[in-house]
Symmetry: C2
């Protein structure tokens, strides 16, 4: 049996080297050179070509290379009955929370404006947004959302959260389910999306959502581009429902050169770098699951396919 790595858009060499170092006996196949398809019982994937995994009739586990599995579930021709796993590791929330805090403080303390002032050699102190006057709303209170919430509270911000089911995080007022969404949104001066991408959350950042926020709210999307209806964001910025946005993910990546976001003065753009997969932390987890599968033990971080995470 063998482990297949199928991640066409990623430079996988450091990750494959890490697997080799951890287990020199492991037989690794790198797509598209997979040899005899019947050998493959475990696939490590990131945006595999849809339909491709059906070739492997002995496949028992599809392991996502990241925290999300939407890139696996978008394939309508997944082999049936195969377990899906995802990565859960501590450097991921650390890294994501850094980005979220940077985006929040960059907005409140107006570093973008001071950078423009610098270009104009202008010395102009401005009234900042005070943490005590701001409520941050986090959509999605999983491992990433909970870590960001806790750290923002430590910095003096008030944080509320919204998720599918009620969550208990110290200091966070938690809203759950569709019925509570409007109430949650009406109180969030900064809205942060950290939701998993599922059929229920796709397009959730839309006109309807933006209109429920306090006037002039700020949006931070670090989840998936498909959470956002991009045209609705442009309209909300134009009409003043939103004052600005910091976006790390987009419907199409890389963001096309002719996309209107590039020129918008109130949109900060980063190229999908908010979170980071750290091979030192991820590969031991992948390997652990591979050996658990071989010896028939229960796998770690198995995804509920109905829920989508």
């Amino acid at each position: 049996m063998a482990l297949l790595v199928i991640a066409p858009d990623l430079e996988m060499t450091p990750f494959v080297e890490q697997l080799h170092t951890l287990d020199p006996e492991l037989e690794i196949r790198i797509w598209p050179e997979f040899g005899n398809a019947d050998d493959i019982e475990f696939a490590l994937t990131w945006y595999h070509p849809p339909g491709e995994l059906k070739k492997f009739i002995n496949l028992k586990c599809i392991a996502s290379f990241g925290a999300g599995v939407d890139h696996i579930l978008r394939d309508p021709n997944l082999p049936p009955g195969v377990l899906l796993t995802r990565v859960v590791e501590s450097s991921m929330p650390q890294f994501m929370s850094e980005y979220v805090i940077l985006a929040v403080l960059n907005y409140c303390r107006q570093f973008d404006i001071y950078k423009e002032d610098k270009i104009n050699k202008q010395w102009q102190p401005r009234i900042p947004l005070l943490a005590r006057d701001i409520r941050i709303g986090i959509m999605g209170l999983g491992q990433l959302g909970a870590d960001a919430a806790t750290k923002l509270i430590q910095l003096g911000f008030e944080v509320i959260g919204w998720s599918r089911t009620p969550k208990t995080i110290s200091g966070v007022l938690s809203f759950a389910g569709d019925d509570a969404l409007a109430n949650f949104l009406s109180q969030a001066n900064i809205l942060i999306c950290l939701l998993p991408l599922t059929s229920a959350t796709k397009g959730i950042l839309n006109r309807n959502t933006f209109e429920k926020l306090p006037a002039g709210a700020y949006l931070i999307n670090v989840a998936r581009g498909e959470h956002l209806i991009e045209k609705d964001l442009l309209d909300a910025l134009k009409s003043g429902y939103l004052s600005g946005a910091c976006l790390d993910v987009f419907n199409v990546e890389p963001l096309p050169e002719d996309h209107p976001f590039w020129n918008h003065p109130n949109i900060m753009i980063t190229p999908h770098i908010s979170s980071l997969t750290d091979p030192k932390a991820v590969m031991p987890q992948i390997l652990e699951n591979y050996h658990r599968m071989k010896s028939g033990k229960p796998l770690l971080h198995v995804v509920d396919v109905e829920r989508g995470y």
Copy 2:
């Protein structure tokens, strides 16, 4: 008796209104309209004109409007035997730590570079600086330095500190005194200056200091402009001892239009906004000391003039 407000460069109206609201009986004089100089027993000051305070022969207390008293002590003609006080309040460290964290994350997560990429419509993920690979050195472990250190540790950074006398802050390796400075500097990838300005710390951010840092270190100065020898910073950036700097304070403020910092690509400039004096929090403290003085009680936050803070 009366309280004199002497702060020529500040818009004091909101602060005076706050004092009036808190104590409608209080007699407030606003320099230069101070009436009979003999009435003045208490002066609330921010960069008063040197020599001016000698006019008030009944003066008992000079209260700084902020955390520092260097702007008082620079006057060689202070009336002798008058107590100096400073402001100590919780919103100040909160606000300062926000700035420090923003400056640190802005550097590590390369938002300046991504902003340039945005102008060029360039999608280019870059390798960030990881918190685990960075050691932050804080000079000055008073109320502000201790708060910043604690919050940076919560975000996953390693923090070391340097101060005149040894300090105990959970998680912070503390260095104290001149003999320990070189050892401290040799370990700090990001150097943050939060020292009080005294004769011992003036010009402490100089060539000698920069050369002891690890190559390519980053400087954040949020204390006083006079801590920094500005020419030495430009030389250190040129030679690579430093990779960049975020500066909120300068030798001359506002920073003159022809100053070379404005055009330097690796210097971030903000107009002395890192900390904030919040009238809601400060004025009750000033008033408390005024009434303590009137009734002969010991004052709060009295400065040791020899030490300078």
